[in-house]
Symmetry: C2
Subunit: 350 residues, 2 copies
């Protein structure tokens, strides 16, 4: 937790921690919403709707809608915190439909006894992340659970974006000959969390890649790039994302290890921890699957936002076999199957 | 928990409880989503979007958007459970904008060790409630937290509805002379939860009023009834809802005790427990505030759905004083102030 410009709008001498009554519908809840959440999340002088639902106008009537709950531990980590993560993650889910992210809801499940200043730090981080991503927090909800029945802060953000394109960006659009483009290096979020959680230190501090990714996506769409599928590489990492798309599309895919960028310190940490970076979660990376004739233009646009963007493989063809759909060609030319993981690598990384 | 028609789609001999890996992004999460959530929440043969966001078409481009997290304890109670409550609550929040509820997202935060059959029961209840309310569950998310860091099941539902009217249904539209109409009797949800939680038994089993309320709202709008404000009477009950609206609108209000229906058993339980039914939470009740010339038509329409709907008071006039905005005239003619509560009456009732 970095030093914050700290002036908590709730008097912390009086309320050093969150109480059950902060979620009870009475004066304390009104104070928390009215003095902390509403001003922090206001945009253009307009506070989020404090009750029931908010009315919104959508330019062309075609929207993307998504939801994610964030339960990450620790709450603060190198490169981010649960607040910024909750904004980026939902912005990115909207972007994966090729939507322009517009509106978010924020719903807190707080544990009784949470330090008020921790909440305030998270709220400020959400405010900054929302501004940076150009989204408005328009409605919300606050619940408090008794001590020992939660874990500090859980956050749900749901999002609405507007779809301005007419493409069918979805796994079933993926077909033979398509090119798989990766937006940057892999593995930083998962390893940053693991290192912080386990108290491991490496030569360098590995920072999460948590960031919004809607800009390269919208830039590609505005340039007329044809996109067959987009997927952010969160839980389960690149390997799981490719497996899920391949299974839905009924295709096989091959990617090449030497084209996939893994930072040296992430690679080193993975070796120590016995992890495969292709399965480690990211929070600011995605793949775009585009037809061959658009791939070069796509990767050029993606490189404006991250020079490490790279074409890493291709869709080989249709297949109905349930296993072994995704293969990796290693640096020495050997081929291995990238399957879905049975268990869990890193719990609570988002 | 009532007897369910029990055939859990996850093999419970193998997975009797939820594991951390059910939220890990690998095979077990795929199984849980693919075999339990997706088929249960499918509508017209179409399963919810399992990844990222879902694309939706909105008829006229004007939507309502809302979010709520549900942390109720106990998970099962007379008249409902956390699953049906999570559907009704969010449907009702959309209805309070005068919107037609269309789409919901469902995000689970499950505690490791939760019996799989409990989850299945809740999922089935959500399925039934969504069908009854005519809404589609279109996208979702699943997280699992370690044992002792959650409380069985928390559910976030967010919702999108379409706004087909041109009215400004909001507290700032409320003005002098408006009539306050209550949709039914008060206090059943909060007392049902309290009785179950505390192991109290009364002569009759008090059932929660949890139910969707969009039908009377849409019927009023379709009949051309002018509505200035709608509000569901959840945490904090009728008294808190009126206080919040009066504060936002800058008006005073008076309601009459003898016009407010409180079931005899609820009244008795409130007396034993030292609670005021006007502050007890409901999950299927709302107030409509309408101009005088529309009030009779409004109450007639509301009575089609609940014969106990009644005009209970009026908006008196403008006021800038921060306290004492809402008063209650008692059966014997005395007047008392209904203020916002300082503390919390009933924690975790929704």
């Amino acid at each position: 937790m970095a030093a914050a410009n700290f002036s908590c709008p709730i008097p912390i001498e009086q309320y050093p921690t969150v109480l059950l009554a902060h979620g009870g519908g009475g004066k304390l809840m009104q104070q928390l919403i009215g003095q902390m959440f509403a001003p922090a999340f206001a945009t253009q002088g307009k506070s989020p709707n404090q009750h029931d639902s908010v009315a919104l106008t959508i330019p062309n009537g075609k929207i993307a809608f998504t939801t994610d709950s964030y339960v990450i531990q620790p709450l603060f980590f190198p490169g981010g915190d649960i607040g910024s993560l909750a904004i980026h993650g939902t912005v990115n889910d909207l972007a994966m439909s090729g939507a322009r992210p517009l509106y978010l809801s924020v719903s807190f499940i707080l544990e009784e006894g949470l330090p008020m200043k921790t909440l305030w730090y998270v709220v400020q981080s959400m405010q900054r992340a929302a501004r940076r991503a150009g989204v408005q927090i328009v409605t919300g909800d606050t619940k408090v659970v008794d001590r020992g029945k939660g874990d500090g802060i859980f956050i749900n953000t749901s999002g609405v974006g507007v779809i301005e394109h007419d493409q069918a960006i979805a796994p079933h659009s993926v077909c033979s000959g398509d090119v798989i483009i990766l937006s940057g290096d892999l593995g930083r979020h998962g390893i940053a969390i693991m290192a912080k959680r386990e108290g491991l230190s490496f030569e360098t501090t590995i920072k999460s890649d948590s960031a919004p990714v809607h800009e390269p996506v919208l830039a590609m769409l505005e340039a007329g790039v044809e996109l067959h599928c987009l997927r952010d590489l969160t839980r389960g990492g690149l390997a799981s994302a490719l497996n899920e798309i391949a299974a839905t599309a009924g295709v096989t895919m091959q990617i090449e290890e030497e084209l996939i960028s893994v930072p040296e310190d992430v690679q080193g940490a993975c070796e120590i921890l016995g992890l495969d970076p292709l399965y480690v979660a990211n929070e600011g990376r995605f793949i775009a699957i585009a037809p061959f004739h658009c791939a070069e233009q796509a990767v050029q646009i993606m490189r404006r936002y991250d020079p490490k963007a790279e074409c890493i493989g291709t869709v080989l063809g249709r297949s109905d076999r349930p296993l072994g759909r995704v293969t990796l060609q290693s640096r020495i030319g050997a081929t291995r199957i990238l399957d879905l993981l049975s268990g869990e690598q890193l719990p609570r990384i988002c």
